[in-house]
């Protein structure tokens, strides 16, 4: 809306210049001369690819020079009043990440890291985040702030565990998780839409409420007879023959649990639904300008209500990943704050399912990388390694993504005269 225009900002050129200097000097000239090797193949692959081996210092000097060239190009474009094209920004980001990896791996106790498990593990860590962020997208696109993702994940995880245990049927657990997520959402929808309670309050309170209820039931019910109530049957991992043996991408795309495949399907469906269907058009309209939607006969509050509920189902299913796929049983607070990371992914991904997916993956990768680096042994204290995913997110948001404009009406209850 702001009609205030500015010259191309200096941000990108400055960032690229700084990155070039860091890579050239810290990673390159002052870096370790040992090699860094990245293995691409893991056991069970159909054929094996050779490891990628980089001489530490030399490679980074080369990358540093390349980044410097990009920075120069960026300054040049700016002088002409233009900005760096997106592909160039992406190339720059990839180069920097590569330089960073070469630097740490060449300087670690063990100079090799498995790229295949780095990526596969990152996807696994991202699964609940992706579902959570889809819930956020669905809800917020229709104009309801969803702070309750954490509660939806936790509720889903708990219910999946108890139902899959009692029925000895993992799919029953999956369905129940969706229902549990929907129930949490219904409260959010009811209070915020019908009773006009501030949406953020309801969300924050719901997280506490779900934490309290699951914690209580965990102690009083599950712990009394874990055999009966907390030994969920697991969803099977389905490997698609042949495809799953492709190095690197095979395990990511073709060797997943049911929920893993559902994740890809859900991302596609939500994206397709929001941008290509009548339903999506209406949902987005309601989130952007409810009054305009109302003047066209669209039931604003009904749309919101169902969307929030649908979001709850999605997040509930995401929560079941904890207890039906990842772990063998439920414990208190098993979601561990991932709902908030998912919320950040929603915004980071600009309320677009694909963007949120990418943001969740970025976070998952950064988190897994951090773990793998502590395993190969870096000189950086573990607490700073643990900060990495968060710092990466801050850097990505502040440095590369910048302003994100949400649905215009998000957070505003719609009341008619």
């Amino acid at each position: 809306m702001s009609a205030i225009s500015v010259l191309p900002s200096k941000k990108t050129p400055i960032i690229f210049s700084v990155l070039a200097v860091i890579v050239l000097v810290s990673f390159g000239l002052l870096g370790n001369s040992q090699t860094a090797s990245f293995s691409l193949t893991s056991a069970g692959d159909a054929f094996s690819l050779p490891d990628l081996v980089f001489p530490g210092r030399a490679s980074n000097i080369v990358i540093g020079v390349l980044l410097a060239a990009l920075a120069a190009y960026s300054w040049m474009l700016r002088a002409k009043g233009r900005v760096l094209p997106v592909w160039a920004v992406a190339v720059g980001a990839v180069l920097f990440v590569l330089a960073f990896l070469i630097w740490v791996v060449s300087g670690a106790n063990i100079n090799s890291i498995s790229l295949a498990s780095l990526l596969a593990g990152g996807v696994v860590l991202a699964v609940p985040l992706v579902f959570g962020s889809l819930s956020g997208v669905l809800s917020e696109r229709s104009g309801v702030v969803n702070i309750a993702i954490e509660g939806q994940l936790l509720g889903g995880a708990f219910t999946a565990a108890i139902v899959a245990s009692v029925t000895q049927n993992a799919f029953a657990g999956l369905v129940a998780a969706g229902i549990a997520g929907a129930v949490v959402s219904l409260v959010l929808a009811l209070f915020s839409i019908k009773y006009l309670v501030n949406q953020i309050i309801v969300g924050v309170v719901l997280n506490v409420l779900v934490s309290g209820i699951t914690g209580f039931l965990f102690t009083t019910v599950m712990q009394e007879d874990p055999e009966l109530y907390n030994s969920p049957v697991h969803l099977p991992t389905i490997a698609i023959p042949g495809l799953s043996a492709i190095p690197v991408i095979g395990p990511i795309l073709f060797k997943q649990s049911v929920i893993g495949y559902l994740m890809y399907i859900a991302v596609f469906l939500v994206w397709f639904g929001l941008y290509k269907t009548r339903w999506g058009l209406r949902v987005r309209a309601v989130g952007e300008h409810p009054k305009a939607a109302d003047t066209l006969g669209i039931k604003v509050n009904r749309t919101r209500f169902w969307n929030v509920t649908l979001g709850g189902i999605v997040a509930g299913i995401g929560g079941s990943f904890f207890t039906l796929v990842a772990i063998d049983s439920f414990t208190k607070e098993i979601s561990g704050g991932r709902g908030f990371i998912a919320l950040a992914a929603v915004i980071f991904g600009r309320w677009n399912p694909l963007g949120a997916f990418a943001a969740a993956l970025l976070f998952g990768f950064a988190d897994n990388l951090q773990v793998m680096l502590t395993i190969i042994g870096t000189p950086v204290p573990s607490q700073f390694m643990a900060m990495m995913p968060y710092l990466v997110t801050i850097f990505a948001v502040a440095g590369l993504v910048g302003r994100s404009r949400g649905p215009a009406a998000v957070g505003d209850p719609y009341v008619k005269e």
């Binding site: 809306m1 702001s2 205030i4 941000k11 209070f191 019908k194 009773y195 006009l196 309670v197 501030n198 953020i200 309050i201 309801v202 924050v204 309170v205 719901l206 997280n207 506490v208 409420l209 934490s211 309290g212 209820i213 914690g215 209580f216 102690t219 009083t220 908030f340 990371i341 919320l343 950040a344 915004i347 980071f348 204290p381 607490q383 700073f384 643990a386 900060m387 968060y390 710092l391 997110t393 801050i394 948001v397 502040a398 440095g399 993504v401 910048g402 302003r403 994100s404 957070g411 209850p413």
Partner: protein, 402 residues
């Protein structure tokens, strides 16, 4: 033509009324009714989960009176315990009230931080991180330096506020300069602060001498808020009151607050009116951070007297509820903070004396917040303000169309 403009009762000034109109519309009565509904539901919940009630339900038909008396006593006992733990009991007198005030202090301070940012148009999920950094700096000054009385405490406060302001201001700066969304930034900064504190607690500088556990030395006596003899209530509560007054003044009577609110509602108009929006954003987040930092000060220089990795507990998140329940007004936040403090203090007693699991207390507390925040629901429950329902118009429309 006759004058037909009907007189309208002047509305009292409702600051920030757009966001919170929904809650403000409930007058006192509705809020009270809201608490009552929540207490009844909460009581039922406590009663249902009570062991004795469960046992009595087992032979409900054999001796129903047992069931109902167990139900009643479970519910009431819990609330009596809550009251005894938060306000008054016969053995300690009003000591529990002092405990409530103690527990409220950081909630109020951090709540003010969330509220202030909210009024400036930003959702500050970062009170947790700001509190941590504030507490860290305050505690360090408190145990590592040795200064005369008064001066030391003042410096502890100043550094605590500065720490929070730094952490909040950084978010403001990044938002103003790069447009990054404050919700993402504050969530991420919370984790960064947490790990930073974890790291520091594992360094010699922060660990208690001779101790391998990550716990700091106890702060110097000069660095600690004087407390009321026989209770934990300390002067930090006075700080909370002063901060509430200060924030009220800042928001409603100062040019800075005017700018914050203008930017919060309409940054374009604020910019056109000469407000430096970037500066306001940074300043608002810095102030918000400082307030959360004050909560950190209250923790380390008041209640706990040491710094540990868990110094923030869940204060930063409770602060969000406190602020919003208080409609993001300073005094609203203050009283919401007291209410939460009472819950906290009372819940502990409830757990001990009636064996009500602490998780259930969380549940009841959440319910009360929901009901207080939902006057329309309460009105609906009590049949107040019932709108006359219009008959469905579909048929006449069909008749009318074409």
């Amino acid at each position: 033509m006759s004058e037909i403009k009907a007189p309208v009762l002047p509305d009292p000034k409702k600051p920030g009324n757009d966001l919170f109109k929904s809650i403000t519309q409930g007058p006192g009565l509705v809020s009270v009714l809201g608490v009552i509904v929540a207490l009844v539901i909460g009581g039922l919940l406590i009663a249902i989960t009570d062991e004795k009630v469960g046992e009595a339900a087992g032979y409900l038909f054999a001796r129903p009176s047992d069931f109902f008396s167990a139900l009643w006593s479970a519910g009431t006992e819990s609330y009596v315990a809550l009251f005894n733990g938060s306000i008054y009991n016969s053995s300690q007198g009003f000591a529990p009230l002092l405990e409530t005030l103690t527990v409220s202090t950081p909630l109020i301070c951090a709540g003010l931080g969330v509220a202030l940012a909210f009024r400036a148009g930003m959702f500050n999920i970062g009170a947790q991180g700001q509190l941590i950094i504030g507490a860290t700096m305050a505690a360090y000054v408190g145990f590592a330096w040795h200064l005369p009385v008064v001066v030391h405490l003042l410096l502890v406060i100043v550094f605590g506020l500065l720490g929070g302001a730094l952490w909040g201001g950084l978010v403001g700066l990044l938002k103003a300069r790069t447009g990054a969304h404050e919700v993402i930034l504050t969530i991420m900064f919370n984790y960064v602060a947490l790990y930073l504190l974890d790291f520091l607690m594992n360094t010699e500088a922060f660990r208690r001498p001779g101790e391998t556990n990550p716990i700091s030395p106890i702060l110097d006596a000069n660095a600690i808020f004087p407390s009321l003899p026989g209770s934990r209530l300390h002067l930090g509560f006075l700080m909370a009151i002063l901060l509430t007054i200060g924030v009220a003044w800042l928001l409603n009577r100062s040019t800075i607050g005017f700018e914050f609110r203008a930017v919060g509602h309409n940054p374009d108009a604020a910019r056109t009116a000469g407000v430096n929006v970037a500066r306001s954003t940074i300043l608002a987040m810095a102030f918000a951070g400082a307030l959360a930092g004050a909560a950190g000060v209250a923790q380390v220089a008041g209640t706990e007297k040491v710094l540990t990795a868990g110094v923030a507990g869940s204060l930063g998140f409770d602060a969000i509820t406190v602020a919003l329940l208080g409609r993001s007004t300073p005094w609203g936040t203050f009283f919401a903070g007291l209410l939460f403090g009472a819950f906290r203090a009372g819940a502990v007693n409830m757990q001990i004396t009636t064996g009500t699991p602490i998780d259930i207390v969380l549940v009841v507390q959440s319910l009360i917040v929901l009901f207080i925040a939902a006057p329309p629901l309460v009105k609906a429950i009590f049949g107040l303000n019932r709108k006359k329902k219009r008959t469905s118009a579909t048929e006449s429309i069909k008749a009318g169309a074409k």
